[in-house]
Symmetry: C2
Subunit: 705 residues, 2 copies
């Protein structure tokens, strides 16, 4: 039994702070429990009353004769701790603390919350809140509405977690208004104990929760979220709206929820690699939920469109292509069948335009025919009002055919009135209806995304044989020198010890050594400043490429020293790195970045001067699987270059993937690595192999073991 | 008087094909004219009836006693031509042809339409349609509903043109449902005469049309559209939905409207440079129309958010930033005023969070205070249902304050029920209300875009002194040789004659000449294959860079020849181009592309191997103004590189702009140029000047004058 069962399926509930006074939360909670028909026993707790809303009331939980599974606490925050003591004494294992006045209010509240958490841990109690809206379970066996949202819930298949109480309530209202039902709702509030993770873990095995919706402003434990979500999304979709994307939004979020809003780049990476479908607006969230409520996961990405008007068909076609799906190629047989009953002016290729005069019979037969085509995975049915044909009749006809063909997703685009949608929202439907084609197609694209995720292997976390001693000795040296930045030489040496191909190079401490080294490596060479003080070498003229001979090397060296001197930067110069010059016009970047909240992230993309300008870079939280690495590589636009655009040698993708995996292993082995950039990671013109040409590594000295 | 006045403001209308039989178009048109209360005289024309819907009917227009301004024709297409003759005989100057059966039906229909156009021209008649839904003018002085859409129109300020009849009708329904009124509507159908251009030209000076909405699947005359739209958008916004963006969508479009859907790249360029606000879905189109209907153009882009719940405030903040606007910095005075009446838990910085319990008074005072802040240009007011506060009361309070402060746009985000929006749609409102924050903010971003467009100078079309004789002689030579592709040498020579800096170079026909030339230019040099047969030189190994001395030149030359021989491509080789090697890691591309329907387009962006991969390229229809050129340069991501990222020399933007303008002049002077690529256009590391390093030009030989 999951600990949340005590809260979500209690046999009895105490409302601590229950009230007879309307417009108080203690009143509303009790009222909702009663009104929604809770199947267990309700014990109102209030020191002043003996009866509340027709139920016998008790001074404290200790006065209640029977057992209590769960307590909803709606009293002033200053009494919460002593109440928790009483709950423990009574043997209550689950509490929902509605009361505000905790960490969201500042220092004193933060201390109170810490004390609360300590008590919960001590007592082994599960807690939702504080500072939350409550919980709901619409299961007919439970019928628990322990929440002060305005509307009573309607039954459906969604598990919904909201970090914002008020917004959660707003969302419940809208869901009800749109006739989107849910199974369970948890308003996690300050997440002192139960958070999105707990809910996902719980719902993973709750059969009547078929999809999970999350409204989040922060992610409490990214790695735990990742583990749980990655597993659960294989069974049921998780759809998340994460607010606070922009710096300004994040700062607004942190002022209001009392928890630091994480960097969006990291959040985005986390959601992607966990198979969570991320939405960027509430409207999209609802659309997607609606589609998942009424559609199976399709077998492929081929969409057929059935319409009685050309224009919307074109707009949907545009949307299908732009959302990364395909327009289905109807079979000859299908076209023939369509031709046999549709008028001559109709178009039997996809989009199938039955023309404006299409009667109900044509809607039915066309949809049926198209659904039976093996080349079709999903169908959009469009209806534009036409004299003599009622929207609601068309909807019923479409639903009739859908009921006979349940295996493929069908969505309706009905460009008609609000009145139609009002009617539909009061009906049992088996397909989702939208006013606009783009919404419907967007919904299908989410089904398709879920399909791809379910089909995608979970991936392996290979272990490479590496030489840790090299890294250890470099880091020890850094500690000794109290220096957190590796030199280029050290960086490349470290990468090499982890099996990453670096270009031939060596360090020279003066000009004559440099010339000797260049002779050894062979011209053309690149000369790079080796300085412990300067990390962006390009900015100070510290990188000289295409040096063809000793004379040129001498000239460039002298010039570099002069320039550094002029800028007063000569001080940290330890000499230069001489490198073989790798011929390549494909410069990538890869590395490790650390988010203060989410931890180490892997990074891959188009490198060189383009990193900041084009931002064609993908991120994933470390550690990454081989699948994650491949996703990272394939998701950047520059992947086309790697494939070998315009006659160039295709890049060794497997080796590129391995570099990312080796780096992932590196930061797992050495969590003190704070930043690591291989820029450029050049794709050799000759053999397509990725070669680390320059590296920049920074560590957190105090974390070196 | 505009010719369209006869159609949109007729003193009398004949309905040719009027009918007493319900469910026919002839019936509906007559019925709508009557029902909507047309202020002029209606003459039903039908050879079989003497009375139709209570009006005296006539056998033909020739039998009508009085003058007729306009005729609506709803008869079988085969009788249309003879009817047009009668209309002319009667002196009718405007016709609306509802009848289908013209070019949308194939060859015979196309011929019929050509014959129709000839007659219209001969008679000097203005015609809407054929194959259309009709026209509407809601002006109380006219009240003309000559259209068979399902719903009667409601009065408003929109001029709406729809290319698709059925969709036009659907849009009218939805507009009515959303309580968005319009002033005039023209369903242009096959656009035999009147098209979007005519409507824009007409509405430019019709005062009660305050915004123009277009649904288009093709643009009949791009240059005319551009001229008219560029002028009109300075006075009133034009908002366009152009369907058929994807290749598949375009092909669906062309099968259904009988006109080729244009390349979307060109359409997009055209709309951008004409100041047209392009929307990509009907929902966005309606949102935008709603916002323009109720909001003035703001003075700046600073948005303030007033909310009673944190979550939606954060989501709106994200949207403000992502839509390219700024969060307003509230003045200290504003914050102090807010602090004086809001509770301590409220946040007085933007977003202003009045917290859930905010009463009506707080909504009013907060909005008033924020509106009076000089740092605020627009305001979003958010309401999330809270016990004891009715949505409609909050809406009224907000509108009351807005009425007292009309100069700044205010939008409402009411995350409440459909019922609220139903009520709102039946009220007179002075601000637009949305269910979702993103919609509201998107609407504000359109106001902001219109502001920027109105503030943007129209731009100049400078004339440069150029040497046309060089171009003429090159083209003459091409004609002589029956060759449509210029050699690299010719291309660079041509560019140079138009004042574009090209890198030092020369042609050599054999190895020894090449060595001599390289000595003259100075090493390092680039060697490029000069062949009349091969245009993508890189693909065949025909470009060798970084040649440092004569020995290397010899080696590379021999290697190139060997490789060409091996591939059997030696045949067209005329020798090589030897070029100075420009030092630059910023390779741009610019040039001319020709769209079969839209004509020559200018192109600018990130060059080198990235053109196809990153697609960081902007387009504008030629000729371009200096403003257009600057917009092109600034709209690519790579602009940051030009500005001089990471210590590199800033590019000479003025000169880059001039290159685009010179190319624009070139294609104006020589319209036979079909394609022109300067790739790369290198930004010199030394002086930041753009230098054409390679050029590829193709002409249409038969158009050389």
């Amino acid at each position: 039994m999951n600990a949340l069962d005590k809260i979500m399926r209690p046999a009895s509930v105490a409302v601590i702070g229950a009230s007879s006074k309307p417009h108080t939360i203690g009143f509303d909670i009790t009222k909702n429990l009663l009104k929604y028909g809770y199947t267990g026993t309700i014990y109102p707790i209030n020191p002043k009353d003996t009866e509340i809303q027709g139920l016998p009331a008790y001074k404290s939980v200790l006065d209640v004769p029977g057992d209590i599974d769960m307590a909803v606490i709606v009293i002033n925050s200053k009494y919460v701790l002593s109440t928790i003591d009483q709950c423990n004494q009574k043997g209550i294992k689950g509490v929902v603390i509605i009361s505000a006045g905790f960490k969201e209010t500042g220092e004193a509240g933060k201390e109170l919350e810490t004390a609360l958490v300590n008590k919960l841990n001590e007592y082994g109690m599960t807690c939702v809140g504080p500072n939350c809206l409550g919980v709901v379970n619409t299961d007919p066996a439970v019928k628990l509405d322990a929440c002060f949202a305005e509307t009573l819930p309607i039954r459906g298949d969604i598990g919904f977690v909201s970090q914002s109480g008020a917004l959660g309530g707003g969302i419940l209202n809208i869901l009800k208004d749109l006739n989107i039902g849910f199974s369970q709702f948890i308003s996690i509030g300050n997440q002192a104990d139960v958070n999105a993770d707990s809910a996902i873990e719980y719902w993973e095995n709750v059969d009547d929760v078929k999809q999970i919706l999350l409204y989040m402003e922060s992610i409490a434990d990214p790695q735990k979220f990742r583990t749980l979500a990655t597993r659960t999304t294989k069974k049921k979709p998780i759809i998340a709206l994460k607010a606070g994307r922009s710096a300004q939004g994040a700062s607004a979020a942190s002022s209001h929820t009392g928890s630091l809003a994480g960097a969006d780049k990291a959040a985005d990476a986390l959601l992607k690699q966990s198979g969570v479908i991320r939405e960027f607006s509430l409207q999209e969230l609802f659309n997607t939920a609606k589609v998942f409520s009424h559609c199976p996961i399709p077998k492929g990405n081929r969409v057929a469109i059935v319409t009685n008007s050309g224009g919307p068909g074109i707009m949907c076609t545009d949307a299908v292509v732009e959302d990364g799906m395909q327009m289905a190629q109807l079979s000859e047989e299908t076209k023939e069948t369509l031709r046999s009953f549709l008028p001559a002016a109709a178009s039997v290729k996809n989009p199938v335009d039955m023309i404006a005069s299409a009667p109900l019979e044509h809607y039915k037969k066309t949809l049926e025919t198209v659904l039976q085509d093996e080349n079709v995975d999903m169908v959009v049915v469009i209806y534009l009002p036409f004299l003599g044909l009622k929207d609601i009749d068309v909807a019923k006809a479409v639903m009739e055919i859908k009921a006979q063909n349940p295996s493929k997703p069908v969505v309706g685009v009905f460009m008609t009135t609000q009145d139609f949608f009002q009617k539909i929202s009061e009906m049992e439907v088996n397909i989702p209806f939208f006013m606009f084609g783009e919404q419907a197609v967007e919904g299908l694209s989410r089904l398709n995304r879920q399909r791809l995720w379910v089909e995608r292997p979970l991936g392996q976390f290979p272990e490479f044989t590496v030489d840790k001693t090299v890294v250890n000795s470099i880091f020890e040296n850094l500690v000794r020198e109290n220096r957190d930045q590796l030199t280029t030489g050290e960086s490349l040496q470290l990468l090499s010890s982890y099996g990453i191909r670096v270009c031939k190079d060596g360090e020279a401490t003066n000009l004559e050594e440099a010339v000797e080294l260049a002779d050894e490596i062979g011209y053309p060479v690149v000369m790079k400043l080796n300085s412990k003080k300067i990390s962006h070498k390009t900015d100070v003229g510290g990188v000289r490429v295409g040096i063809e001979n000793a004379d040129q090397l001498r000239a460039e060296y002298t010039d570099m020293v002069d320039k550094l001197k002029a800028k007063n930067l000569l001080d940290g110069m330890e000499g230069v790195i001489i490198q073989e010059m790798v011929k390549s016009d494909r410069e990538m970047v890869c590395g490790i970045a650390t988010d203060p909240q989410y931890g180490p992230m892997m990074m891959f993309g188009l490198g060189g001067v383009f990193v900041e300008v084009m931002k064609d870079v993908s991120f994933r939280l470390a550690p990454i699987s081989d699948q994650d690495a491949m996703d990272m590589i394939k998701s950047v636009k520059a992947y086309k270059l790697l494939e070998g655009a315009r006659g160039s040698k295709p890049a060794d993708i497997k080796e590129t993937q391995n570099i990312l995996l080796r780096l992932s292993q590196l930061v797992k082995d050495f969590p003190c690595i704070d930043e690591l950039d291989i820029n450029p990671l050049m794709i050799s013109d000759k053999d397509g192999e990725p070669i680390a040409v320059d590296g920049r590594i920074k560590i957190r000295l105090n974390e070196v073991k």
